[in-house]
C-alpha cells in the first residue's frame, strides 16, 4: 500500500499533481499556508495510491514524497 | 491646453521622445526600464516609426548607429549592465558625429547588482566609459515632467551638435509615478542633415565613419570633437539653485538625490540652518563656474549621491581647493532618506574647521558614511 506526503509549506497550489494523478487522489485544501498560498492535499480513503510518483515528478516545488 | 495626468517616468521618457521627433527605437529588455521598450513597441508603429527589439544591447547601439546615419531621430534605452555593453558603440557614434539619444535608467551595481536605484554610472557617463577622448552631453531629470521635457529636448541637442546625448536617470525616476502637465506640443528644431547616408542622389557620396588611419587626421577629428565639447560647455550648462544665496552649506546633488536633499533642506531650514541646493542638470557640461563662484563666496559643499563619490570629483575639480567639500552617499540600491541627509547637514553646518571627517577629502580613495 503506497502513499504520498505533501509538504503544505512548499506547495504553491499549481494543481499539476492533481491533474497528473491517475487515481485522482489529490485535491486542493481549503485555506492557505503561511506564505499565503493555496495548497493541495492527499485524499486516499481506500488506499488506492499505486505509488507511481507521477504527482511527485511533476511537482515544480518538490513538495511531494512517495512511499511504497 | 496642457493636460495634467499621472505618469510613470519610463512612460514620460517614451512620450517625450515621440514629442521630440523620435521615429526609431532599438532596445533590449532590462529592469528597471522595461516599460520603455514596451510602450515603444505599441506606439512606434502607430506613428509610422520603427521599433526593433534587438538581440542585445550591443546590437541596439549599432542599430542606432545605422539608423542615426540616415538622419532620422532615433534612440535606445537600457540600464547599467546594458549600457556597459554599449560602450564601444557609443564611442563610435561620438566619433562618427551621429545625433542619437541614449537613456540609462541606472540600477544597483557593480556587476549584476540589483534593480534598485543608483547613481554609480556617473563616471561611466561623463568621463567616458568607452575608449578615447569623447564626451556625452548628459541631462539628469529629477521629475516626471523633466523626464518628458529633457528627452524631447535631447533630440534637438543631439542634432544641434551632431553628438550622442545621454539621459541619466535611475530606478526611482524611471519607476516613479507623479503628476505631469503634458504640453500640447513640443517645439522641435529640425535641422538639415546633408551628411546623412540616404542615397547620393543629386550630390556626391556621403560616408559615416570613425576610422582615421593617419594619426594626423584622427588628431584633427579629436580637435574637432574637443572644440564641440568646448562649445557645449559655453552653451549647454544647465543647473538649478535653490536657497543658496544666504546658505553656509550648499548641497550638490542631481536627479533623485536632489529631490531627497530638497526635503532635507526644508527640514534643516526649519531648524534655522542656512542650507541651499545646487542641482546640476547637465552633468556634462558640468556647471563648474557656478560652483567656483559660490566657493569663492566662502560656502561649504556637501555632495549627496547614490554612489561612493563620483560627481564628488567634479565638484572638487570645480572648486579647486577653494572650499571644503564633504560627501554623503549610499550605494547598491540603498537610497538615502531625508533624515540621513539632515543628520549630515547638522553635523556640517556651524562646524568651522577643515576636515569633515568623511574621509573623502584626503585625496586617497573615498570612505563613506552609512547611517546605521
Amino acid at each position: 500500500m503506497a502513499l504520498i506526503e505533501i509538504n503544505k509549506e512548499l506547495c504553491k497550489g499549481c494543481e499539476l499533481c492533481i491533474h497528473f494523478c491517475p487515481k485522482k487522489l489529490i485535491e486542493m485544501a481549503d485555506g492557505f499556508n503561511s506564505k499565503g498560498n493555496r495548497f493541495s492535499q492527499f485524499k486516499d480513503s481506500d488506499g488506492s495510491c499505486i505509488g507511481c510518483a507521477l504527482c511527485a515528478k511533476v511537482c515544480p516545488d518538490v513538495a511531494i514524497e512517495v512511499w511504497r | 491646453m496642457a493636460t495634467k495626468t499621472l505618469m510613470k517616468g519610463n512612460e514620460a521618457i517614451v512620450r517625450g521622445a515621440i514629442a521630440g521627433g523620435c521615429r526609431g527605437f532599438f532596445g533590449y529588455p532590462i529592469t528597471p526600464q522595461n516599460e520603455i521598450p514596451e510602450y515603444m513597441s505599441a506606439l512606434m508603429p502607430k506613428i509610422g516609426g520603427a521599433f526593433v527589439q534587438a538581440e542585445s544591447e550591443v546590437a541596439s547601439i549599432n542599430m542606432v548607429y545605422g539608423a542615426a546615419s540616415t538622419g532620422a531621430r532615433v534612440m535606445t534605452t537600457s540600464s547599467s549592465p546594458g549600457i556597459s555593453l554599449m560602450q564601444e558603440g557609443i564611442s563610435y557614434i561620438a566619433t562618427a558625429e551621429l545625433p542619437a539619444v541614449i537613456v540609462n535608467v541606472q540600477r544597483g551595481g557593480p556587476g549584476l547588482g540589483n534593480i534598485a536605484a543608483s547613481q554609480a554610472d556617473y563616471f561611466q557617463t561623463v568621463k567616458g566609459g568607452g575608449h578615447g577622448d569623447y564626451k556625452l552631453l548628459t541631462l539628469a531629470p529629477w521629475s516626471i515632467t523633466e523626464c518628458y521635457n529633457f528627452t524631447a529636448m535631447a533630440f534637438d541637442l543631439a542634432d544641434k551638435y551632431r553628438a550622442p546625448v545621454m539621459i541619466l536617470a535611475d530606478a526611482i525616476i524611471g519607476q516613479m509615478i507623479e503628476q505631469i502637465e503634458v504640453p500640447e506640443k513640443v517645439e522641435t528644431h529640425l535641422v538639415e542633415k546633408p551628411w546623412a547616408t540616404n542615397g547620393c542622389k543629386g550630390r556626391k557620396k556621403n560616408v559615416i565613419n570613425s576610422l582615421y588611419i593617419v594619426p594626423k587626421d584622427l588628431e584633427e577629428m579629436n580637435l574637432k570633437l574637443q572644440a564641440k565639447y568646448a562649445l557645449m560647455s559655453e552653451n549647454e550648462v544647465r543647473f538649478e539653485k535653490t536657497q543658496t544665496d544666504d546658505a553656509d552649506l550648499v548641497i550638490v546633488a542631481y536627479g533623485a538625490t536632489a529631490r531627497i536633499s530638497k526635503t532635507a533642506i526644508d527640514l534643516a531650514r526649519k531648524e534655522g540652518l542656512k542650507v541651499g541646493l545646487f542641482r546640476p542638470i547637465s552633468l556634462f557640461p558640468y556647471p563648474s563656474a557656478e560652483l567656483l563662484e559660490m566657493a569663492e563666496q566662502g560656502k561649504k559643499f556637501l555632495t549627496v549621491e547614490m554612489s561612493h563619490g563620483q560627481m564628488l570629483e567634479d565638484v572638487k575639480l570645480a572648486v579647486n581647493g577653494k572650499a571644503e567639500v564633504s560627501f554623503y552617499g549610499r550605494s547598491g540600491g540603498m537610497v538615502p532618506n531625508p533624515l540621513e541627509v539632515l543628520d549630515k547637514i547638522r553635523e556640517l553646518v556651524g562646524k568651522s574647521n577643515g576636515s569633515c571627517g568623511c574621509g573623502c577629502c584626503c585625496g586617497k580613495g573615498k570612505k563613506m558614511e552609512v547611517s546605521k
Binding site: 503561511s34 506564505k35 493555496r38 | 499621472l6 537610497v335 531625508p338
Partner: protein, 182 residues
C-alpha cells in the same frame, strides 16, 4: 493633509495596483501624489513594496523616512517595515496570513483585516489587496473610496477590466469591515 504610506507584499499580491489606485484616487481629488515601487527580481515570490505619498503641498523626496502608515499583505513584511513607522502610526495587516503582530510596536495602532478570507468569500483570492485598500481608506480617510473606485478603469489592465465590479465590491467590503472596527 500629508500621508506617507508603505504598502508591502510579495509579487503577485497586487501591491503595486492598490498603491496606484490610491495615487489615482488622490489625483482625482487634486492632491499631489508620488508613487514608487521596489521589488525583487522574481515576477512572483519576491518582495514587492511601494511607497505612496499623498499631500496637499508639493512633494519633494519620493523616499519616506518615517512613514505614517504600513499596509502589509503577509507576515514577513511586518518584520521588514514595522520598525520604520512613525510613533502613533497605523499598521494594517492581512490577518488571514499574519498572526497578531502588535508586539512588534507598542506605539502604533494595528488594524487586522482578514483580507484573504474576505476575498475568498467574494470568490477570488486575488482581490485581497483591494480589501486591504478599502480598509486603509476607510480609516485613514486620505481619499474618498469613490475616487478610488473611479480610478479602477485607469489602473486595471485592459484584460482585467471585466473584473472591475469584483474589485469594487472588494474595496467596499474592506471599508465596511474597517468601519465596524471603530
Amino acid at each position: 493633509m500629508h500621508q506617507e504610506v508603505i504598502m508591502a507584499g510579495t509579487g503577485g499580491q497586487g501591491i503595486m495596483v492598490i498603491g496606484q489606485l490610491l495615487a489615482y484616487g488622490a489625483v482625482g481629488e487634486d492632491k499631489n501624489v508620488v508613487w514608487f515601487p521596489s521589488y525583487g527580481p522574481e515576477t512572483r515570490g519576491g518582495t514587492a513594496d511601494c511607497t505612496v505619498i499623498v499631500s496637499d503641498d508639493q512633494i519633494g523626496s519620493p523616499v519616506t523616512a518615517v512613514p505614517d502608515t504600513l499596509l502589509a499583505m503577509s507576515q514577513i513584511q511586518i518584520g521588514r517595515h514595522a520598525s520604520k513607522i512613525k510613533k502613533d502610526g497605523v499598521i494594517f495587516f492581512n490577518s488571514t496570513l499574519v498572526d497578531d503582530p502588535s508586539k512588534e510596536r507598542q506605539d502604533c495602532k494595528f488594524v487586522g483585516v482578514p483580507a484573504s478570507a474576505i476575498a475568498d468569500e467574494l470568490g477570488n483570492m486575488r482581490v485581497a489587496n483591494m480589501v486591504m485598500l478599502g480598509a486603509f481608506i476607510e480609516i485613514t480617510k486620505s481619499v474618498n473610496l469613490d475616487s478610488v473606485c473611479q480610478a479602477l478603469t485607469k489602473v486595471l489592465p485592459s484584460h482585467r477590466q471585466d473584473l472591475i465590479p469584483l474589485n469594487e465590491a472588494a474595496l467596499r467590503k474592506g471599508a465596511e469591515f474597517a468601519a465596524k472596527l471603530k
